[in-house]
């Protein structure tokens, strides 16, 4: 599903955020990406989302070198990846329902079908009763779950998450991780960047460890 081949990323010609990255993630796998802050976790996810292009090497997603994508194709590529952000990236002037339906709106899904899918996604994250609420009326954990619902509402084949449990207490974090495991169980490839080592270790999935932009360990690979 994902292949990094000799990938390097420099910012401003000097600072080397990522270097010599080589790894593969198979379809349907669940992978954690860990390392201290500044180790390059976010940069790596940004490369997969094609928010940036690698300075060296190739990032191949589903058989396509995504650096080769024409700018006009990038939106269509991004639609097939669900992303959960640490700061949720919710729109605060829209209701929970409308936030979750945003990806479907962008894809032009027929409204009734969209409403059905939005409710299904909200039900999955346990927030169906809050669909009319505004994001500010929700707790941090609930906001994060809205973010997850938005990421999965169009059933992406690949789900990325950047510190999804960043500001949550351990119990909520475990709940969120369990959600991701559920999605992984139905075939979604999941990649989660997190520095919550204790939690990750308990979950027994493959772990990629980064330090200073290099891959220093690949544990539990199949």
């Amino acid at each position: 599903m994902i292949a990094f081949e000799h990938v390097g990323k420099r910012y401003g010609g000097r600072f080397e955020a990522l270097a010599h990255l080589n790894f593969r993630v198979a379809r349907g796998e669940m992978v954690f990406l860990t390392g201290h802050s500044g180790a390059g976790k976010s940069s790596l996810l940004r490369l997969i989302m094609r928010l940036e292009k690698p300075s060296r090497g190739r990032v191949v997603v589903a058989g396509h070198d995504i650096a080769q994508l024409h700018p006009s194709q990038v939106p269509f590529y991004r639609r097939q990846i669900g992303v959960v952000f640490q700061d949720h990236q919710l729109l605060f002037d829209r209701s929970v329902f409308s936030n979750v339906s945003l990806p479907l709106e962008i894809q032009g899904v027929e409204p009734r079908e969209a409403a059905r899918r939005v409710r299904a996604a909200l039900d999955k994250v346990g927030l169906l009763h809050r669909e009319k609420a505004l994001p500010v009326e929700l707790s941090g954990g609930e906001q994060q779950r809205v973010g997850i619902a938005r990421a999965v509402v169009n059933k992406p084949a690949l789900l990325l998450a950047d510190e999804p449990t960043g500001n949550l207490d351990p119990q909520l974090s475990a709940d969120i991780m369990a959600l991701f495991e559920d999605f992984n169980r139905i075939g979604t490839t999941v990649m989660i960047a997190s520095h919550d080592l204790a939690l990750i270790a308990r979950l027994r999935h493959r772990i990629l460890r980064l330090r200073d932009g290099r891959l220093i360990a690949d544990e539990g690979a199949v």
Partner: protein, 346 residues
């Protein structure tokens, strides 16, 4: 629910159940391909239309939510439109005047005072035989005097004259009213015996026409300038709108919105601004017309003429409205396109 990430499929919809239920007898693969392509296309078209409708309404709603500020923007647009439109209207009425004048482009042949009526008639006949002459009209000395008195209203003063000082004259309507051929005709006529002088009544027609041409050019230049002004007004307003919705734009681009999708609401806002400005401009023109109609009529009456201030007809109003809407749309397009390149998702 596994679906491959394939960048080329552009968010293709999953195959519908209807297709898989097709009867196997009619070359299934081919039928299915054609059908699914068609449904995909029509559903995408429908989605496109839906988004257009939604954005048109949404942007109008946003305008109405902040009525004062947006009304001021529209007023600025309206004022920029009113000036060139009013000038154009004025020139349009001048053109009507001009057409009337064209008909009255004539030569006047003044005969020598010694020529009597019979001779004058013979000269008229000879002149009428000239090529280029369409029609002639003989004005005897007495008729000339009468017309003169009537037009000046100087009955009493002229009645005191013992002799009629005016010569008989022949008014000639030439075939072509272009100045050089009229000049040639005048020279030929001047050679006739009994002809004192030939005057070409063209100079001031020409002058007026030049003036109208000049005015039209000024109107066009002003129109272009003020049109640019409309672009700037709308562009600046839209730039601020884009800036205030920057976060939203970043988020939707993160989850796969195309530039066209992001641009759409702003283009509609721009078009609404233009449309509203156009309506206001029409209102202002009407108001101005109402305001000026009475003094203009009075002024015209004092010259013994009836002149009605020109008004925009339906076609003119439609043109003004579509131009302003288009300008608003264009201004928004320029602003958004310029601005979007500086916004990239974080």
């Amino acid at each position: 629910m596994k679906r491959a990430v394939t960048p080329r499929t552009k968010g293709a919809a999953p195959k519908s159940k209807r297709q898989s239920a097709k009867s196997p007898s009619e070359s299934p693969a081919e039928r299915r391909g054609a059908r699914s392509q068609q449904t995909r296309f029509t559903s995408r078209l429908r989605a496109w239309g839906r988004h257009h409708r939604a954005m048109a309404i949404d942007s109008l709603y946003r305008l109405v939510r902040h009525p004062v500020g947006n009304l001021l923007t529209m007023l600025a647009i309206a004022i920029a439109l009113v000036l060139p439109a009013a000038l154009w209207l004025t020139l349009d009425s001048a053109k009507l005047l001009d057409a009337e004048l064209e008909e009255s482009a004539t030569l006047t042949v003044y005969l020598e005072t010694a020529v009597d009526i019979a001779q004058a008639a013979r000269i008229e006949e000879a002149v009428g035989a000239e090529e280029d002459v369409v029609q002639t009209r003989l004005i005897s000395a007495e008729q000339g005097m009468a017309e003169f008195q009537q037009s000046l209203g100087l009955d009493d003063a002229l009645a005191g004259l013992e002799d009629n000082p005016l010569p008989a004259s022949i008014v000639i309507y030439p075939q072509s009213v272009d100045p050089s051929s009229m000049e040639q005709l005048a020279q030929r006529l001047e050679a006739f015996t009994g002809v004192d002088e030939v005057r070409v009544d063209l100079a001031w027609v020409e002058r007026l026409r030049h003036l109208a041409n000049l005015g039209r050019r000024v109107a066009l230049a002003l129109g272009a300038l003020f049109g640019l002004g409309v672009l700037l007004v709308v562009g600046n307003t839209i730039r601020l709108a884009v800036e205030s919705r920057r976060r939203e734009i970043e988020v939707v681009m993160l989850i796969g919105a195309t530039h066209a999708f992001v641009r759409r609401p702003f283009l509609y806002s721009g078009a609404w601004y233009g449309f509203g400005g156009g309506l206001l401009a029409l209102g202002l023109l009407g108001l101005g017309n109402h305001w000026l109609a009475m003094p203009v009529a009075a002024l015209a009456a004092s010259y013994g003429a009836s002149f009605v201030l020109p008004q925009l007809d339906i076609a003119g109003s439609t043109i003004l409205l579509s131009c302003s809407t288009l300008l608003g749309w264009l201004g928004a397009w320029l602003a958004v396109t310029r601005h979007l390149s500086s916004i990239s998702p974080r």
